[in-house]
């Protein structure tokens, strides 16, 4: 007779032998590094060009993001339409994204089309012209999009909490206004492009089922470009956190929910506490079974979801709690968040919960490493943060061995309400 009260035996995920598949490193003629992970069942590839061209390096707001966006909007010989048409004809996706330190161009395509597509990516890096007409359309549409976003409490809250943490003049803290768009000039884009793309510093990542001679092909097309020659400007941005810690803002008188953000500054991945706090964060608000979810969603029903996480920045991080809750229960939600901090400070995590979190984290890591795109993405994070595979093995070691008293000590060190900025935007 089947006993349904009895859980089947499990292999503890912490006992699984996790390996980070090594990546292969190549160097092009111009010293641009190319990192590859070959494999996968489908005949698809991903190639990403990472430039040090984030808003860290801009002199004026949104120059970096606009330059990155407009890489697809015209070269000496192709219009924006022709560029889109070219990539889309092959069923390829060409995306670009601008971050704080870096800005990327990412190509996803069927392996068989890679050779056709690489030369046109090179054209974007060498011959973009930033047409006036395209810039005008971009400004107009971005301003309209901004106007809609400014009606959303979560959008406002995300901007303000970063400003409190880092200061408006820091790349992590600044945000965009309509005026910024009005003041953009294409000459600034050209100058930024010339310095940080045409003559910039680049790393290339490629994964998937790579056609034979992929690296040779990349070398012939990208190895001649004047990349990685000039020294990057040494830019430092002082962090200027806000003095006031608590904010209540009404953005929409009729709003039925408030966006809540609680955040404290936290060091970057090089700090020895970072991997340990990842474990504490999981217990606190890092997954569906966390304390915050169990209490504030699954017991009280104040919100559809509540999460905590460490921000994914290179220079400085922040520990963030984020949720949208019913307008009338926003204050009650904040009280409960602080209560959960207090419980973590006052009581050691019991063995059963800690074991669950260890298994969950390892299992989820195992799932995250499934497939070449996932593997290279993890490697990319490590390389861009100046880390190597030791960080991976150290994190796993931490997940397996961190003790309840260590976690409690970390909670006492960091999870103090006085450390946190507190914001509600209705």
């Amino acid at each position: 007779m089947l006993n349904r009260n009895l859980a089947p035996d499990i292999t503890n995920a912490v006992d699984l032998d996790l390996k980070l598949r090594p990546l292969t490193t190549h160097t092009l003629k111009n010293q641009v590094p190319v990192y590859t992970v070959d494999g996968g069942a489908q005949d698809v590839v991903m190639v990403e060009w990472v430039f040090y061209a984030g808003n860290w390096y801009e002199q004026k707001n949104i120059v970096a993001a606009t330059t990155n966006f407009m890489l697809k909007n015209g070269t000496k010989s192709r219009s924006a339409f022709a560029i889109n048409e070219y990539f889309e004809f092959y069923g390829a996706y060409l995306n670009r994204s601008c971050y704080n330190e870096t800005a990327t161009i990412t190509l996803h395509c069927l392996s068989k089309h890679l050779a056709e597509l690489l030369p046109v990516v090179a054209e974007l890096i060498t011959e973009s012209v930033f047409p006036q007409e395209e810039l005008a359309i971009y400004k107009q549409n971005q301003k309209q999009r901004l106007e809609v976003n400014l009606r959303k409490c979560d959008f406002i809250a995300n901007r303000l909490i970063d400003e409190y943490l880092f200061g408006f003049d820091h790349p992590y803290g600044k945000y965009t206004s309509t005026l910024d768009y009005d003041q953009l000039d294409r000459v600034e884009l050209e100058a930024f492009y010339q310095q940080f793309y045409q003559n910039g510093r680049c790393k290339i990542f490629a994964a998937g089922k790579l056609p034979a001679d992929t690296v040779g092909m990349i070398d012939r097309i990208f190895g001649e470009l004047p990349l990685n020659r000039q020294e990057m400007p040494k830019v430092q941005h002082p962090v200027l956190p806000a003095a006031e810690k608590k904010y209540r803002i009404i953005n929409d008188e009729q709003g039925v929910q408030g966006a809540i953000r609680l955040a404290m500054p936290f060091p970057n991945r090089h700090h020895p506490d970072f991997p340990k706090v990842q474990v504490l964060n999981n217990i606190f608000g890092g997954f569906f079974g966390s304390r915050l979810m169990s209490n504030i969603r699954e017991d009280k029903g104040y919100t559809y979801g509540i999460h905590s996480y460490l921000q994914n920045h290179i220079h400085h991080s922040a520990w963030m709690v984020s949720t949208e809750a019913g307008r009338d229960v926003c204050e009650a939600t904040i009280t409960e968040v602080y209560k959960e901090m207090q419980v973590l400070r006052d009581e050691a995590v019991d063995a059963e919960e800690l074991e669950l979190v260890r298994n969950y984290m390892i299992g989820s890591l195992l799932g995250d490493l499934d497939g070449p795109f996932q593997i290279i993405s993890r490697w990319k994070t490590y390389l861009l943060n100046g880390l190597d595979e030791n960080y991976f093995y150290n994190s796993i070691h931490t997940i397996r061995t961190i003790t309840a008293p260590e976690l409690q000590a970390l909670a006492n060190q960091y999870l103090q309400p006085d450390n946190f900025y507190e914001l509600v935007v209705v």
Partner: protein, 413 residues
């Protein structure tokens, strides 16, 4: 080519196994043949609320998530107008944990009052977050009830109104469970680092003894063919005017579905699509415009929606959209444009099939449609479509009487 084995338990549970030993993980996906279309018009949003309750404890297991997380697993679920799908992924060694959990909640829920009262609140917050507290959040509530007058696609999965969710009671929950959540109305897909023999044995062991239940015979009111164009104008406190227009299209398995999919791609797929190029870039009437379809099992909708550049009148925007539609109907699509869409489709399928979880989900979906082998025949169905077909289907879809237009005016407040 996605390979799979299929068998059916005595209680009617259909089981599909997709072996892929290159992954260390196993995926367990259970799809129930019930969605928002099966709801009582006075109790909408129930299928989705019910999905939340499936995590509130089953007859022998007080909490679904905890044992799964302990086994290194993660899970989620979603509800659409057509179906409800639950999926989890865990290290393959611990596959049996997923069988234990999924079979117990198919056997019976705990029907906890506490879980119901909490999840009513959670779903109300979800409703607020996505539909009430967002600019334009009510657009699709309005459009669905304009385009559908009989078929239950006239309401959204989240429900018509908060009140319906707030009023759900435990008797509704029990009745819904024993009507829809029976083995005979469910599909189990197990994928990843698993073996068919092992899955057979586990399926018999854990699901074999669950009572079959009554097969659910769906008899939904069908939507009559729309004869006259409908139009709705409304005002809302948003910054920009929005234009939304829909047309009825074929059901999921009809050839017209594939044509509609390609037509929406030609009109709205990417930076080289017709609407984007003509209306955003050249004429600068819209700051953004999208064209897509609902992908629903019963006859769905082709939709075009966009926000107007300030100063452009709704009439001029509508006229410019009509001109592009007219072109689809009157001028044969050039061969390279057709080839582009076929290439994109090939690529979309290849990328989707990268993840085991996505393959498992697709297998369940095709089995629900009646034939899991369709998963390997889709691309061919797109490949055989000609420019003549696209023109013929454009004329069918974009027939004047078949349209529903929403002018969503900004009050500027």
């Amino acid at each position: 080519m996605i390979t799979f084995n299929r068998f059916v338990l005595d209680n009617g549970l259909r089981v599909l196994v997709h072996e892929d030993i290159t992954t260390p993980m196993a995926v367990v996906n259970i799809m129930y043949d019930v969605g928002a279309r099966d709801e009582n018009p006075d109790k909408t949003g129930f299928a989705h609320l019910f999905e939340h309750l499936m995590f509130g404890g089953s007859v022998h297991i007080p909490d679904y998530d905890e044992p799964l997380q302990r086994a290194g697993g993660e899970n989620n679920a979603y509800t659409t107008n057509d179906l409800t799908n639950y999926y989890c992924q865990l290290p393959a060694q611990n596959l049996e944990t997923a069988f234990w959990l999924e079979s117990d909640r198919m056997l019976s829920l705990a029907f906890s009052e506490k879980s119901l009262s909490v999840q009513r609140k959670v779903v109300c917050e979800e409703f607020k977050e996505h539909y009430l507290n967002k600019p334009y959040g009510d657009v699709w509530h309005k459009m669905r009830s304009l385009a559908y007058q009989s078929h239950p696609y006239r309401w959204m999965t989240i429900g018509k109104e908060l009140r319906h969710v707030e009023e759900a009671n435990i008797d509704d929950v029990k009745a819904f469970f024993f009507k829809h959540y029976r083995p005979v109305n469910a599909i189990l897909v197990v994928a990843g680092n698993v073996r068919t023999e092992q899955v057979k044995q586990l399926a018999e062991k854990w699901f074999g003894s669950i009572p079959m239940g009554e097969p659910y015979r769906r008899a939904l009111p069908q939507e009559p063919v729309q004869q006259e164009a409908r139009k709705l104008e409304m005002e809302a406190a948003v910054p920009l005017d929005a234009f939304v227009k829909t047309w009825h299209m074929d059901a999921r398995l009809k050839p017209g579905y594939y044509a509609a999919d390609m037509i929406t791609e030609i009109l709205g797929g990417g930076g080289s699509s017709r609407l984007y190029q003509a209306l955003v870039k050249e004429q600068q009437l819209f700051s953004n415009i999208d064209c897509y379809h609902f992908g629903s099992i019963d006859p769905g909708l082709v939709a075009i929606e966009g926000k107007l550049v300030k100063g452009v009148t709704m009439e001029n925007a509508a006229k410019a959209v009509d001109a592009e539609i007219e072109k689809m109907m009157q001028v044969q699509i050039p061969e390279p444009e057709l080839q582009k869409v076929k290439n994109k489709t090939e690529s979309v399928i290849a990328f989707e099939d990268m993840s085991v979880m996505s393959r498992a989900n697709s297998l369940a979906m095709y089995e629900l449609l009646g034939d899991a082998t369709l998963i390997n025949k889709e691309l061919a169905r797109y490949q055989e479509i000609t420019t003549e077909d696209l023109q013929a289907y454009s004329r069918e879809i974009f027939r004047a009487g078949n349209s529903n237009t929403l002018f969503y005016h900004a009050t500027g407040k």
